[in-house]
Amino acid sequence: MSTLQLVLTAALTLMLPSVGAAQQSSTKETQQGAIVLGPSAPGNTLADRKTVIPTTEELIKRGPKVAVNIAAEEMGMVRLPQRVTTALNTLEFQASGTMAEMGADGKWSDYRVSKLIFGMDFVIPACRMEMELVGSGTRKQHEIRVAAGKQAWDEEKPGIDGKPMPDTAAVERERLIWLTPQGATWAAMLAGDKAVLSNEGGRLTISFSIDDEPVKVLLNAQLQPERIEMQAHSSTYGNTVFVATYMGYKDFEGYLVPFPTKMTYKAGGRTILDLDVKSQISNPYVIFPRPSTMRSEAAAKPR
């Protein structure tokens, strides 16, 4: 391959990022931070670039803002040399598993979740949870639960035939955003210096509040959330502790965005979601236009 072809290939690779993650281009970096493309450049693969993760004590010494930023980078949420932290701002995953839910009468219903698609926007914040549920002896039901800002509604199809739900549903639904690994990391970044770091058995924990509800995030050795606890007042469950646990992180798309393959949510000790993740998309096209039947909210207030 000629030098020109190499240059062209590298240039085009930059312009074709959706597939380029698997491309191992021949590059090296100069002292000035420039990247050299060409025949003399050594290999530079993902495996070549092993990140050195500071120890828990080192992270604690560096303070919450820096430590959270380092953790956020490991979660794929810090991008470009200027360390942009808002670039990864929507996320979607698809999963299946089981769900348990308490009804208004206080009785629990158990479901098999044949399909769950959870799309979220950290900025608005907003989420859309589309589920195919099979209860005991019942037909398959299809539900789409949406929340954006302070409002919530259910949809027949994504974006279509929205029916308003009580505002308390918005709080309940958006809580799920902050219980996801990237959602909790986003919230921890927003907490900034108000976050508190501690060492739990050699692991870093980050404590902060979301709307006055205390949150504690326990990270694994790769600085990925392993357990997220949130003390919340839930309109469904009352004062309770929500606990999300994550395992089997995987970079689903090759964008350096690790996401768990296994997730479990508990409310007050009872498992409410137990999911196997099939796929995950970083920054998908997800939007949340309010149904025309709902009162307009001039602008969803970001956190």
Binding site: R49, T86, V123
Partner: protein, 299 residues
């Protein structure tokens, strides 16, 4: 061959430009503790600067205009690249952890994370995602189709006459030294509208010191931007506004397509800068077919 090398540089430069442009489109209202990377690079025209006028009284838009650069933001279009003696090319790419790998995937994430999205009707959400997912095959640029309006963006050169302006474009294979003729103060050409073209039928008028270019009469074969699957219908209506202040020019675009969009899509304003070199001219683009490469080479 020279053109090919230049175009390679342009693409590298464009990648850098894209990164900063997109990162400049920070989520509005996000707490300042999150870094959007916006402030260091975004330099709009100073509204206090006067608008130069021509002898006929019109604002003077004539000249070679460049996109803003990231390196020094002077609009000079300096390419931060050098060719080493061994044939290697050093380019100041947005590498975070070192190496092309992080630069490339960071650009992808930043591009996809642009907060300013067109609001498609729900029945088209799946289509947008599908087009984006397979953009290597579905993006019209990879078929050497013209970018069309508005994707071709701001012109790199404007030639102005009292009754019309000519926009010249250069730099991307799909631009291929494209041009647009913008007649002033006349209605759309019915015959041209029927043809439904890539660039549509443009007419312009002045609103104070702002040139307003109204374009309709499109086919539906182009995308609104690169890679993200933002298609449109033949009902596309684009309004571009050019406001010169000093030697900078604000370029604003509003895209409407009531057939597929819930509401008009307003682009983030861009700032063009006048090239001060009186001998400045646009390079000749190489034919699009020459840029084609084996896709397997970049997978």
């Amino acid at each position: 061959m020279k053109n090919l090398i230049w175009s390679c540089f342009f693409q590298l430069f464009s990648a850098l430009f894209l990164a900063v442009c997109v990162s400049a489109q920070a989520p509005t209202g996000v707490a300042t503790s999150l870094s959007s990377g916006r402030d260091p690079v975004y330099s709009p025209a100073d509204p206090k600067e006067a608008t130069p006028h021509r002898p006929d009284g019109q604002p003077d838009l004539d000249g070679v205009w460049t996109i803003r650069t990231t390196a020094n933001n002077d609009g000079g279009g300096n390419l931060p690249s050098v060719i080493e003696k061994d044939g290697s090319v050093a380019a100041f790419l947005p590498s975070r952890k070192g190496g092309l790998y992080s630069a490339e995937i960071d650009l992808a994430i930043v591009s996809k994370g642009d907060r300013n999205k067109p609001m498609y009707k729900p029945e088209y959400w799946a289509k947008v995602r599908e087009l984006e997912l397979h953009s290597l095959k579905t993006d019209p640029q990879y078929k050497c189709l013209p970018y069309g309006v508005p994707r071709m963006g701001e012109p790199q050169q404007i030639i102005q006459q009292t009754n019309q302006l000519v926009f010249l474009y250069s730099g991307y294979p799909s631009l291929s030294n494209a041009y647009r003729v913008i007649p002033l103060n006349r209605p759309h050409d019915a015959g041209q509208l029927e043809e439904e073209t890539y660039k549509g039928d443009s007419v312009g008028h002045w609103e104070g010191d702002t040139l307003v270019v109204d374009t309709i009469g499109f086919n539906d074969e182009t995308w609104l931007t690169a890679k993200l699957g933002y298609f449109h219908s033949t009902d596309l209506h684009v309004v571009e506004r050019f406001t010169r202040r000093g030697n900078k020019m604000e370029y604003q675009v509003t895209v409407d397509d009531p057939k597929v969009l819930l509401q008009p899509w307003v682009w983030e304003p861009r700032t063009m800068a006048l090239n001060p070199d009186p001998n400045a001219k646009l390079p000749e683009d190489y034919p699009c077919s020459e840029r084609d490469v084996d896709d397997t080479d970049v997978r």
